[in-house]
């Protein structure tokens, strides 16, 4: 009886690990990414952007060297007309790279008719999808890390001031947040590459979502908040409620989350990313920088939000891919 039960349990569970072959897929996909013309173009684009903005920032900062304890951070955030700061560019370069890495990841296998041949090998579908996602994330992390190192190097050479430990720690956290901000768009592009059979359709859908959050979301939130929480009598509570709703809605966009993380990490003097009432500022010494762990506490929800959204979108893609019929 127990033997039968054990046998039944063994039969119900699939044999082997779902991760068999995962690293083979990761290695192959990363090699593809790193040698593709598409990535070359994006790399040139991002290096040029970084060079331009950082050069402008160094020129601007050379006069104030020695006055600012967070010089390295300024490299990322200093803007000089007509160029915006490097972080401003990152806000839309990261989604662009992430989308370019993943929009044809699954439907490309279908259109090249390689999917059935690959899945006929002793691996599970999990390994293929996870491998593709990880390869995209690693590639993104690689590109961003290289840029990060280049900028720090340029800063040391250009200004002659070595970065402090706190600055390095802050910019490393910023790097992590950037990777997961990219992770959201990577996972989204992957979901679309599973849903749509044509890579072009998937790419367009990704761009549409990205445009929606970059351009229209703020406008929509600006219109929706007064409608949902109208200010009828002009009381403080009403105005506060409306502002809070507006903030909550705008935080549904990954762009908002990322820019808040960026703000708190790269500008240590920032004490709040939400609404601040005068009473809350009682006793605060304005203009003094927060220690790193306080800045992290400030944007912890945003950071976990970025990571959670990445995982959630990947899970959606995972379920869709598992249910997908292999025959074209």
């Amino acid at each position: 009886m127990t033997l039968k039960l054990k046998e039944a349990q063994r039969q119900r569970a699939r044999e082997g690990s779902p991760w068999t072959g995962l690293w083979v897929v990761v290695a192959k996909e990363m090699a593809d990414h790193l040698t593709s013309v598409r990535m070359r173009i994006l790399e040139v684009l991002i290096v040029l952007t970084a060079a331009g903005t950082v050069y402008a920032a160094i020129r601007n900062l050379q006069n104030t060297v020695g006055q600012d304890p967070f010089l390295l951070m300024k490299l990322f955030t200093t803007a000089q007309e007509p160029l915006p700061a490097f972080v401003g560019f990152l806000g839309f370069l990261i989604p662009l790279i992430a989308i370019a890495l993943a929009f044809d990841s699954v439907n490309g296998e279908f259109s090249r008719r390689t999917i059935s041949r690959v899945l006929a090998q002793p691996i599970y579908r999990d390994a293929l999808l996870m491998g593709k996602f990880l390869a995209g994330l690693f590639t993104l992390a690689l590109v961003l890390t290289v840029i990060w190192l280049l900028i720090i190097g340029a800063g040391i050479v250009g200004m002659g001031v070595p970065p402090s430990g706190e600055e390095v720690a802050r910019s490393l956290w910023f790097l992590l947040a950037s990777v997961f901000y990219g992770g959201i768009w990577l996972a989204l592009a992957m979901v679309f590459s599973i849903v749509f059979r044509q890579p072009a359709t998937a790419a367009l859908a990704c761009i549409a979502v990205w445009l929606f959050f970059t351009v229209f979301w703020e406008i929509l939130v600006g219109m929706a908040a007064p409608m949902l929480r109208p200010v009828q009598f002009g009381s403080v509570e009403e105005i506060l409620a409306q502002a809070q709703l507006e903030l909550a809605l705008s935080r549904l966009s990954p762009n908002t989350l990322y820019s808040e993380v960026m703000l708190a990490l790269l500008q240590p003097t920032v004490r709040s990313v939400g609404l601040v009432l005068p009473i809350q500022l009682h006793g605060a010494v304005l203009g003094t920088p927060l220690p790193l762990h306080q800045s992290l506490l400030l944007i912890w929800p945003q950071l976990t939000g970025l990571i959670a959204a990445t995982i959630l979108l990947f899970a959606v893609g995972y379920v869709l891919f598992q249910r997908r019929e292999i025959r074209a």
Partner: protein, 316 residues
């Protein structure tokens, strides 16, 4: 030798209301070449995908090499080679790089993979183009690379979906020779096709598919006897009184039907090759034998006749 490589019982697959495969009972023995025949959309590819565990059956049971492909897919896929109907490769990679990826997915060591890849490329006559991107390959070369890819894991069973589709006659003949050599090595082959004379040339047994059911199964000769009522058609030309000759031929044991087609030509349908007996009968009946020929059973005839009959029944 009679060990079953593939065994299905009541295997069914439904997509919503559409029945793709309807309670299929299939048995393929070790070392034989089995052909799945049927028009497009008759459920051949769906059956193959279920055998590999790439699609879950709606009902019924499957055993491939004694394993359940839905529960033990890794063991099944490590031992079974599959060549899809339109085999695709990563065009920007070389033939060798494509095979290396597959070898790694099969968990082969670097040395073992390199050795086996050289071996299968050599065998398929692709050694010289091994380091060219697959994008430059012709259709026939892609097919051969597909076989190389399948052989890489040294399978016990090879499943091929429409292996000769889109090949020129010479390429198709070459491909059938490859299947012959696989059989000689003791590898069991299951192939699907609608190119009948090719299937006939290479398969030990065939199964006729229609609307998701395997309606007929057996050797080509068996099918001919069942569908045509007779496996052999003897063309005979003789001078002499037609009614007498016709009667003489009809009285031969094993003759099913005799038709006088005018001008001294007769067509005799028989269960076996009765040329000698027929010649004897004509001569004894006082006729002068002018010509004698036999037409072996052709799958084309069986197929055409069978589906004709079934359509006819459906309309009636």
């Amino acid at each position: 030798m009679s060990e079953l490589m593939i065994e299905t019982h009541g295997l069914s697959k439904r997509y919503g209301d559409v029945v793709a495969v309807d309670s299929l009972d299939l048995a393929v023995r070790q070392g034989e070449v089995f052909g799945l025949l049927g028009p497009n959309g008759s459920g051949k590819t769906t059956t193959i995908l279920m055998l590999l565990g790439l699609t879950e059956p709606t009902a019924g049971s499957v055993r491939v090499l004694g394993l359940d492909p839905a529960r033990q897919p890794l063991s099944v896929k490590a031992r079974v080679g599959y060549m899809p109907d339109e085999v695709g490769f990563y065009d920007e990679l070389t033939a060798r790089a494509n095979l290396i990826y597959i070898a790694q997915l099969n968990g082969l060591s670097r040395e073992e993979a390199a050795r086996r890849i050289d071996e299968v490329l050599e065998r398929m006559g692709l050694s010289e183009v091994a380091d060219r991107p697959v994008a430059t390959f012709s259709h026939g070369m892609r097919r051969r690379l597909g076989v190389a890819d399948v052989l890489l894991k040294q399978p016990q069973l090879i499943i091929m979906d429409e292996p000769t589709q889109g090949l020129d006659p010479e390429g198709a003949r070459g491909f059938l020779r490859i299947i012959h050599t696989l059989k000689e090595e003791g590898i069991t082959v299951l192939l699907s096709s609608h190119l009948l004379h090719q299937v006939q040339a290479v398969c030990d047994r065939v199964g006729l598919f229609r609307h998701g059911c395997m309606e007929l199964e057996g050797t080509v000769t068996e099918l001919a006897q069942r569908v045509l009522g007779s496996a052999y058609r003897i063309q005979l030309q003789a001078d002499g009184p037609a009614p007498t000759l016709t009667e003489a031929l009809q009285q031969l044991p094993g003759v099913v039907d005799v038709q006088h087609q005018g001008d001294g030509r007769y067509q005799v349908a028989a269960a076996s090759d009765l040329r000698a007996e027929a010649a004897n009968a004509v001569v004894s009946a006082g006729g002068r034998l002018l010509g004698l020929d036999v037409e072996a059973p052709s799958l084309d005839n069986i197929y055409a006749r069978y589906f004709e009959e079934v359509e006819h029944d459906a309309e009636a």
